[in-house]
């Protein structure tokens, strides 16, 4: 640690093994009625893992069906599989994943606070999330939903006779939970920073969580409205989107994507925040261009609200609006490019070591780069005509979501595991899993770029026979990817019991959270932590 003076906690207070937050209470009540942001993080981590499993199983069904051109599942099962995969992965894993787990756990620690601004609302958000999960279960039990996670009308409001109502309730509830989490974190960052911790001394993860919360609070209400109108269209025949009664189906697409494009920034910004912490930590070097990365986060959060029209390039949207949205979509890509350049430049003149989180960081940079570049294809108007709604789009957003967001999630899990659990994870297994995931991922999704260029449409249960070889390759990759995900689950749970005791700062990283014990005490700090020379690493 650098020349920290006043923050040296007295040695007497270092006797922490007894009173850390995990030992602060036992039994179900201490978990289900907890006000401690660290325990709420654990509640989310467990429920996220369960729902990720539901999403992963449905993904396996999709890849299984596409093994043969005539589809191994019947069309309705396939449609339900990709719909539940979309809904669960987007709304129940990717949007909440990092903010509600590592954001919850680390935000107060990183800014030197004892808890988030509204602890009760924090717990209430988790209950709303769980109710949303129950609605998804209800949707599955009553026959599943076959509208796709985009719920395009008039199919979803008039023609589909699947459990759309449960899906809409699930999305509405988890959206409300997302709003409350965002609201909570924004007030926390504004109001509960330690004295002297100005905005430009905040760790970049806090910037990322702030940007994410900003987008969550401002985008989700319009999704809530789209779901409410869809619900009323379906039940009361409120014809807002029904073309026969004068409604315009494209208006639903506008309202849906006004939230759903900023939502992809909700999904990727936290992982970017994790990268901005992990890479400097293992490069043992200051982050390159701290201000540029912080401002890029805000730029993405702001301009992210202006670009949703690139999802409507091939529909009845006017050509001029398309041109405007294309330019804005390019504008929003610049900050992302700046971040990738800065992460790479952070390695310059560093002392790089390659623990598992750093491997995930390298995976993130490589795959997010490809995801970002292919996103530029889709922002280019003429290329979108050819590539819209083909497997190119599927490969693009999986490179960003799985290659980017999930790698970020796993990097965060490994990087802060010692701090959260007081245990070290098995390093060799973790590195092996990181490499296996990288290989499995690329075998699964790189062929889909080629399928997309060849014109294979998405959401097809059956397809022309010439696309089969690449689909079989992709399905094979999916098996490797599936196994790859089981590894971290296994050895991290194993480490809870058998992992070696973790020191206070195993990676010699900077930041308030590394100044407390592992796992930290119930009230985070015995005395208000005072600023180090440059806490932002």
């Amino acid at each position: 640690m650098s020349n920290a003076t006043a923050t040296d906690l007295g040695s007497a207070e270092r006797v922490y093994s007894a009173d850390n937050y995990l030992h602060a209470g036992y039994g179900l009540r201490s978990w289900l009625l907890t006000m401690d942001h660290k325990r709420v993080a654990w509640l989310y981590l467990v429920s996220l893992t369960v729902l990720f499993a539901v999403g992963a199983i449905s993904a396996a069904l999709i890849r299984f069906d596409l093994l043969s051109p005539s589809g191994l599942l019947d069309a309705s099962a396939y449609n339900r599989a990709f719909t539940v995969h979309g809904i669960v992965m987007v709304f129940f894993f990717l949007v909440p994943s990092i903010p509600t787990t590592f954001g919850n756990f680390l935000l107060p620690l990183m800014i030197g606070a004892r808890d988030v601004a509204f602890p009760r609302i924090n717990l209430f958000s988790w209950y709303l999330y769980s109710i949303g999960g129950i609605f998804v279960l209800a949707a599955l039990l009553s026959g599943g939903v076959d509208t796709g996670w985009t719920f395009y009308t008039p199919y979803s409001s008039v023609y589909s006779n699947s459990a759309v109502v449960f899906a809409v309730l699930a999305v509405f509830t988890v959206g409300f939970s997302s709003i409350l989490t965002g609201l909570n974190f924004m007030v926390t960052v504004h109001k509960l920073r330690a004295p002297g911790l100005t905005w430009f001394r905040l760790p970049l993860f806090v910037w990322a969580i702030y940007g994410t919360s900003f987008v969550q609070v401002l985008g989700t209400p319009v999704l809530g409205l789209a779901m409410l109108l869809l619900f009323l269209d379906r039940f009361l025949g409120l014809a807002v989107f029904n073309p026969e009664l004068g409604g315009d189906p494209v208006l639903f697409q506008h309202l849906f994507w006004f939230y759903s494009h900023p939502a992809v920034y909700i999904m990727i910004l936290p992982s970017m925040g994790v990268m901005s912490m992990v890479i400097p930590a293992y490069a043992h070097n200051r982050i390159f261009g701290y201000k540029f990365i912080a401002m890029s986060t805000l730029a993405i959060a702001f301009i992210g609200f202006l670009v949703w029209g690139h999802h409507l390039f091939v529909t009845s949207q006017s050509v001029y609006a398309g041109i405007a949205f294309s330019l804005l979509s390019f504008l929003v890509s610049v900050p992302s490019a700046v971040k990738v350049f800065n992460w790479t430049a952070t390695l310059y003149k560093g002392q790089v070591t390659y623990e598992a989180p750093m491997l995930y960081a390298f995976t993130f940079i490589g795959l997010f780069l490809i995801g970002g570049l292919t996103g530029l294809f889709l922002a280019t108007l003429s290329a979108d005509i050819q590539l819209h709604a083909t497997y190119f789009v599927i490969a693009h957003f999986h490179y960003i979501m799985v290659g980017g967001a999930v790698s970020g999630f796993l990097a965060a899990a490994h990087f802060w595991w010692p701090k959260m659990t007081g245990r070290m994870y098995p390093e060799i297994w973790a590195r092996f899993a990181a490499v296996l995931l990288f290989v499995g991922f690329n075998i699964t999704f790189f062929p889909q770029f080629m399928l997309g260029l060849a014109g294979m449409p998405r959401r097809y249960a059956t397809y022309p026979v010439e696309f089969q070889p690449l689909n079989i390759l992709s399905s094979a990759g999916a098996v490797v990817l599936g196994v790859g995900y089981l590894l971290p689950l296994a050895y991290l749970v194993w480490s809870l019991r058998y992992g070696p005791k973790a020191p206070e700062n195993p990676w010699a990283a900077k930041g308030f959270e590394w100044q407390t014990s592992s796992p930290p005490p119930l009230h985070n700090f015995y005395r208000r932590p005072v600023l180090e020379a440059d806490v932002h690493g």
Partner: protein
């Protein structure tokens, strides 16, 4: 150029005039992306290895002003490349999405219906999931849907446009290579979305004429429209002789009419369709809202036939045009 795109970049062969330009943008992006990826991943690995822990290298931090100059050195080129591709792609998109005005294009009506394509030629030929077009002649396809949103996509022609119920969308192409190409529905539309496929058969003009001769449609689209015009008794009010209870329809298509409540609208297909289904919405000024709505009595193909008849109706000509 065409086979290269097909060989190296997995793109379907270029079977329409716009394909080459569209592919140029795509291949430009692919090449640039591969280059950028190699550059950055290469830099990452190089820096990662050169500055690994324990390497005897100078690790004095980079000073602030140099760092800012480096930042600008990669923001500006990125932005410039983006703007270049924005204009290039926008230009090709504008050309692909504005139907040709002159040159007597072949008019095709396509009605998407849950899980099949009904394709009407102007001479009355009706095809299901099949579209025969001559090479070298512009084809303008007007699409609508009878139920949900579909999307008419022919990858080989590099065309794709959503088919939306309640309104008409248009796309155009000019086939350049004879052959049979995939026709896909690329907007999820329910159970058999993946079976809503068909073929577009581009033929040399001679073969197309021979094929056309074999089809012996009873009546052209306009004639079918005329039959509907009679069957639904439109002539009772709209015939020129009728005592001015409804606007005369001859030669009305393409002109502008003043609408009740102010404002002027162009009489295009959308206006005619609305006038048939929602007569009171954009009432022509000076007329009473007495026309009954025909919603639910005609399906989209019949409406398109009726509109084809109204398009051909010229003042002074009694019968429907051949």
């Amino acid at each position: 150029m065409s086979s290269m795109a097909h060989q190296f970049f997995y793109l379907p062969e270029q079977a329409s005039t716009i394909a080459a330009q569209a592919d140029a943008v795509l291949i430009g992006w692919i090449v640039l992306s591969v280059a950028v990826t190699l550059a950055i991943v290469g830099a990452m690995l190089f820096l990662g290895i050169r500055y690994r822990r324990g390497a005897r290298v100078d690790t004095t931090p980079v000073d602030e002003s140099l760092a800012n100059r480096i930042e600008v050195s990669w923001i500006i080129p990125t932005a410039v490349v983006f703007v270049v591709f924005f204009f290039w792609g926008g230009y090709v998109y504008y050309k692909a999405y504005t139907p040709p005005t002159g040159g007597d294009p072949l008019a095709i009506n396509v009605v998407g219906k849950q899980w099949m394509w009904k394709i009407q030629h102007s001479n009355g030929v009706l095809e299901i999931n099949e579209l025969h077009v001559p090479v070298g002649r512009k084809v303008v396809v007007t699409t609508t849907s009878e139920d949900v949103v579909h999307s008419f996509a022919v990858p080989a022609f590099r065309v794709k446009r959503d088919v939306i119920p309640g309104t008409y969308t248009q796309l155009w192409f000019e086939a350049s290579r004879p052959g049979t190409y995939h026709l896909f529905c690329t907007q999820y539309c329910g159970l058999d979305h993946s079976r809503m496929r068909g073929h577009v058969i581009a033929m040399r003009p001679a073969d197309y004429a021979a094929w056309l001769a074999h089809q012996h449609p009873q009546r052209s689209l306009a004639e079918q429209g005329a039959a509907l015009y009679e069957a639904y008794g439109c002539a009772a009010c709209h015939a020129p002789g009728a005592h001015a209870r409804a606007p005369a329809l001859a030669g009305l298509y393409g002109t502008r009419v003043r609408v009740k409540g102010g404002g002027e609208l162009r009489v295009d297909r959308d206006y005619l369709r609305r006038a048939i289904l929602e007569p009171h919405q954009d009432l022509v000024a000076g007329f009473q809202p007495i026309m009954p709505s025909y919603k639910g009595q005609m399906d989209e193909s019949q409406i398109l036939a009726l509109i084809a008849y109204l398009q051909d109706l010229k003042p002074g000509r009694r019968g429907p045009s051949p």
